[in-house]
Assembly symmetry: C2
Homo-oligomer: 238 residues x 2
DNA sequence: GATTTTGGGTGTAAAATTAACACTCATTTT
DNA sequence: AAAATGAGTGTTAATTTTACACCCAAAATC
């Protein structure tokens, strides 16, 4: 596949050298997180095609000639959720010989964090995808379980030092929502008072005058996340 | 490339489906760290072949049909240093369209930590590779600078919570050696007394009766690292 | 209109960890 | 004998982390 703008002689020499080596399909797989009805969920699809037909799997696709691998991950996610500008983070490359029972495929896994309310639910429905609670993951095909484990580890490692949570919550949120989410990520309960204290010490959290009355008689104050530009790039710390 | 043991009909259908998508070369690049003469160094090669001929680059190679991507990284490193069982850690996949000026290549980067004394220096010499101090990296081709930045970030993040340093040091080492190395990784000086206190509090460090007299009149006590099995799998913390 | 119910909200004290800091030691060289 | 070199060592103040239990506001019920 010669591309324009290459010097001919050198280019042919390089291709001749490279061509001794095999090529593989390069897939992307997305571990998509969102909070649905207060619970941390992941997006899975039931495969109605081979290989691994009938099993659940992560959403994925193949990288095209015309896009970077990172761009392929973004595209796959956009095709499914209708969302652009989603926070995505590479989890790693998975390259075992037999990881795909069909053909040799190397896959690069990403995790994505998004706000459930922004999702195009019709598009998700149509592609047979479902939101599944992170603690109720069904058996999955391929090496997807490994990918998920690694994605969750990565998230756990970063949740206290990077403002990841706010990508999963609506623009205005209660402190309880934040705490429930962090607890779901780290997998253990946290002390309410200490958690709120630390969170509110953070200059990137601003109280609003609105209240969420959907859960309690009294109502819970809503907060807003201020991105670093507005707060002087302070280091985030929960 | 049909492989044995596949059910024919399904296999053909999968291949037909997959074949709509392009294949790419899958490379591996290794960021190889070692301590040479007390300084943290990386292994680089001067390329005497296209593309990027004449520039310095990381050591790398292509993944073969017969090996996983991780195994390819191990092989490339073994071919160069003569070492097996080296600690390697994936840094990430790099998949920009034009990252290789020759052809489309997706590369998976790894960092490797090894003890300089174990290296086959003749083999390194022969392949035109050189040890270069991490603060004196020459201009590099491809996207190798980005790979190095990410590898060093990763290392910095883990150095205090995982026993990485001991993979870079000889079996017996002085506390000063450890401190110099950690300082090279984090890029800032550390308090000597606090550092030594923390390090020696660690049950995985054992004092020996030997001394290194090469640097001081007095001599410095040599210590040994005890792997977790011997210490009851305590969490590592410097 | 008093009572119950529900999740929201709040402060302090003890314990643990981290940070700052400067001199002596043992040995060799001069 | 003096100087030079890197090795080694403890204490105190400051900060951070942990543990912990009750009242609040509003609506619903009786």
């Amino acid at each position: 596949m010669p591309r324009p703008g290459r010097p001919g002689r050198i280019y042919r020499a390089v291709v001749a050298y490279y061509s001794k080596y095999p090529k593989f399909h390069v897939a992307v797989d997305c571990i998509v997180f969102a909070v649905k009805e207060g619970r941390l969920c992941m997006l899975l699809v039931k495969r109605d095609f081979e290989p691994e037909k009938g099993k659940w799997s992560l959403i994925g696709g193949f990288t095209r000639d015309t896009e970077s691998v990172d761009a392929a991950a973004k595209r796959v996610l956009r095709e499914l959720t209708g969302l652009k500008n989603v926070y995505m983070q590479q989890v790693g490359a998975f390259g075992d010989i037999d990881r795909d029972p069909g053909e040799r495929v190397v896959s690069v896994a990403y995790f994505a964090l998004l706000n459930y309310d922004d999702v195009d639910h019709a598009a998700v429905e149509e592609s047979g995808a479902k939101w599944v609670e992170v603690d109720e993951i069904p058996p999955l095909g391929f090496d997807h379980p490994r990918m998920i484990v690694k994605a969750r580890e990565e998230m756990r490692r970063r949740i206290f030092s990077e403002p990841l949570v706010f990508r999963l919550l609506p623009e205005m949120f209660t402190l309880t929502q934040v705490q429930n989410l962090v607890e779901a990520v780290v997998g253990e309960p946290l002390d309410k008072r200490n958690f709120r204290k630390r969170l509110c010490d953070n200059p990137c959290i601003a109280a609003t005058e609105s209240f969420d009355k959907s859960l309690s008689r009294r109502g819970a104050r809503l907060y807003r996340y201020l991105p670093p530009v507005e707060t002087g790039n302070v280091k985030f710390k929960i």
